[in-house]
């Protein structure tokens, strides 16, 4: 399984990104890490170049919402990404927010897995579960 990951927008919080890279590798994923400061197009472009199965976006500084709204529009310009798994985590709103509101909103933006302030290992378990279910419905 190939995963493209990075921190979206002008966000420079790098610590989680490093941990995500390591944890994904430890779980046997092929990781293409775009690092901090990554624009949405670059995530999708990287998925096209690598044939990735998953795009895992993190956002810490509060920019997520703005980018989230763009996902459907930008993704619709690509002809080969219909089946890609879209995942996002970190701090998905400014301030603490309420996961019950946040999750459906982000699903509406086009994400399959939404992890607002969820710890990394729990999030990656969710990803593996999602993949398993998709493969054996």
């Amino acid at each position: 399984m190939k995963v493209v990951t990075g921190v979206v927008g002008n966000d420079i919080h790098v610590v989680a990104n490093r941990l995500i890279d390591l944890s994904l590798r430890a779980r046997g994923f092929d990781v293409f890490n775009l690092g901090v400061n990554t624009y949405l197009e670059e995530f999708f472009d990287a998925a096209v170049e690598t044939g990735a199965d998953v795009i895992l976006i993190s956002s810490l500084n509060g920019e997520a919402e703005g980018w989230g709204r763009e996902v459907r529009a930008i993704k619709s310009r690509y002809k080969t990404l219909d089946d890609i798994i879209m995942m996002i985590g970190g701090n998905l709103v400014v301030g603490s927010g309420n996961a019950e509101d946040i999750e459906p909103r982000y699903k509406n933006y086009g994400f399959d897995i939404v992890c607002h302030q969820i710890d990394l290992n729990t999030g990656l378990d969710m990803l593996e579960e999602f993949i398993k279910e998709r493969n054996n419905p």
Binding site: K2, D30, F32, N33, L34, N37, E41, E42, F44, D45, A46, V48, E49, T50, G51, Y78, K79, T80
Partner: protein, 408 residues
């Protein structure tokens, strides 16, 4: 800051350097620089000998070094699969090899592109990391079949190389320019393109004759200029970081240092190059005027320069001056967020802009700085004022030619 006149470039021994451009040629001896307008009714050699024969004849064949951009460089069409990686990387390598890009095609939409009618010197096909395959298919082969090209090279995923090669006769396969961390790998494609350019220069009838006068290899001018950049402090007091603009008769070249771009491209070059193909004041005059008319700030600029649009129909010295000033403005626009080319330079961090080429013979430092200030104010809404440095004596090119010749 003005040009540092007391620091003359070190004398280049008893050597003669000749640069043949699309509009001018320059001849540099250890003590003088001559520049002449090309006479297009004569071959380059006849023209050169007619105007500077006595100078040329004073030097032995071994001591004469020639570079040329007279052929306008090679043209390429890029076919890639994304703008942020394959197309961007190939663009970077092509520009750094002295090649001009006539078009880029995004594979997923390839059926929507029209077929360029011109003969393309080299088609580049790129896309995918080596861990990905089955990217290229019939839509690519159909498109390529309709193109009119001299060379075609594949630098995409190695998984698809054999199949693409079966379907495209004459395809040259080189290692992927994208590695498995999505980073750029330049060397193979760069070497291939640089060699093509070199062969092209040598193959041109006009240039071939020049070998009657030199025993040394004739290089491309952008290659020589790029060689000079790390040495620029030797002749000028340049405040880093700087960009270098070579506004010529047919094209405009921009050389910039790597710290001026925020990019996902990590290369080992200290300086990269970017070309605006149809931006020049003689051969590309019409397309320059077209670009100017489509820029909403140009009328304000013309007003600022106290002329009207009628200047576009005139051909006197004043009109040339204005066109050169417009060219500076348009190039700066193209490198800014305002009219984004494939990269955006951090123009607010630039401390100097070095100008070389014919423009230095026509405009004064004040006239250039006036345009720079106008650009920063109008487009970047900033009072930042990088200093203009004019390479009036072609020191940069002499430095590059010398550097090239010293490394050999």
């Amino acid at each position: 800051m003005s040009q540092n006149v007391d620091k003359q470039p070190e004398q280049a021994g008893n050597k003669l350097f000749i640069d043949v451009g699309s509009t001018y040629f320059k001849v540099s001896t250890p003590t003088s620089i001559e520049q002449h307008f090309r006479d297009f009714n004569k071959t380059i050699l006849d023209d050169l000998m007619h105007k500077c024969g006595s100078t040329v004849d004073q030097f032995a064949k071994e001591d004469i070094y020639i570079c040329s951009s007279a052929n306008g460089g090679l043209s390429t069409l890029l076919i890639g699969i994304t703008n942020s990686f394959s197309i961007k990387y190939a663009t970077n390598i092509a520009f750094n090899s002295g090649i001009n890009i006539i078009d880029t095609v995004l594979l997923q939409n390839i059926e929507e592109y029209s077929i360029p009618s011109d003969l393309i010197d080299v088609v580049i096909i790129v896309g995918g990391t080596d861990s990905h395959g089955n990217i290229f298919n019939d839509s690519l082969y159909n498109y390529v079949q309709q193109l009119n090209y001299s060379n075609i090279v594949y630098v995409g995923t190695q998984q698809d190389a054999a199949r693409v090669q079966e379907n495209i006769p004459g395809l040259v396969v080189l290692p992927n320019i994208i590695d498995d961390r999505l980073h750029i790998v330049e060397e193979h494609l760069k070497e291939y393109l640089t060699n093509l350019y070199q062969q092209d220069i040598e193959g041109k009838e006009d240039i071939k004759h020049l070998y009657e006068k030199t025993a040394n290899q004739i290089f491309s001018t952008p290659y020589i200029v790029n060689k000079a950049l790390p040495l620029i402090d030797a002749s000028f007091t340049v405040a880093n970081p700087f960009i270098l603009l070579d506004i010529g008769g047919a094209t405009t070249d921009v050389h910039y240092s790597k710290d001026l771009v925020d990019e996902n491209i990590v290369t080992e070059n200290e300086y990269d190059r970017l070309v605006f193909k149809k931006l020049g004041v003689y051969k590309s005059r019409q397309s320059l005027i077209f670009a100017a008319k489509n820029n909403e700030f140009v009328y304000e600029l013309l007003m600022h320069l106290k002329v009207t649009e009628n200047i576009f129909n005139e051909h006197d010295e004043k009109a040339t001056k204005i066109l050169m000033q417009l060219a500076i403005f348009l190039v700066l626009c193209k490198m800014s967020h305002y009219r984004k080319a494939y990269i955006t330079l951090k123009l607010l961090s630039i401390n100097s802009i070095v100008f070389t080429g014919g423009i230095t013979k026509v405009l004064s430092v004040a006239e250039v700085e006036d345009i720079i200030a106008f650009f920063y104010k109008k487009i970047l809404t900033s009072d930042h004022k990088p200093t203009a440095i004019l390479d009036t004596n072609y020191d940069i090119w002499t430095l590059g030619a010398k550097e090239k010749n010293l490394c050999r």
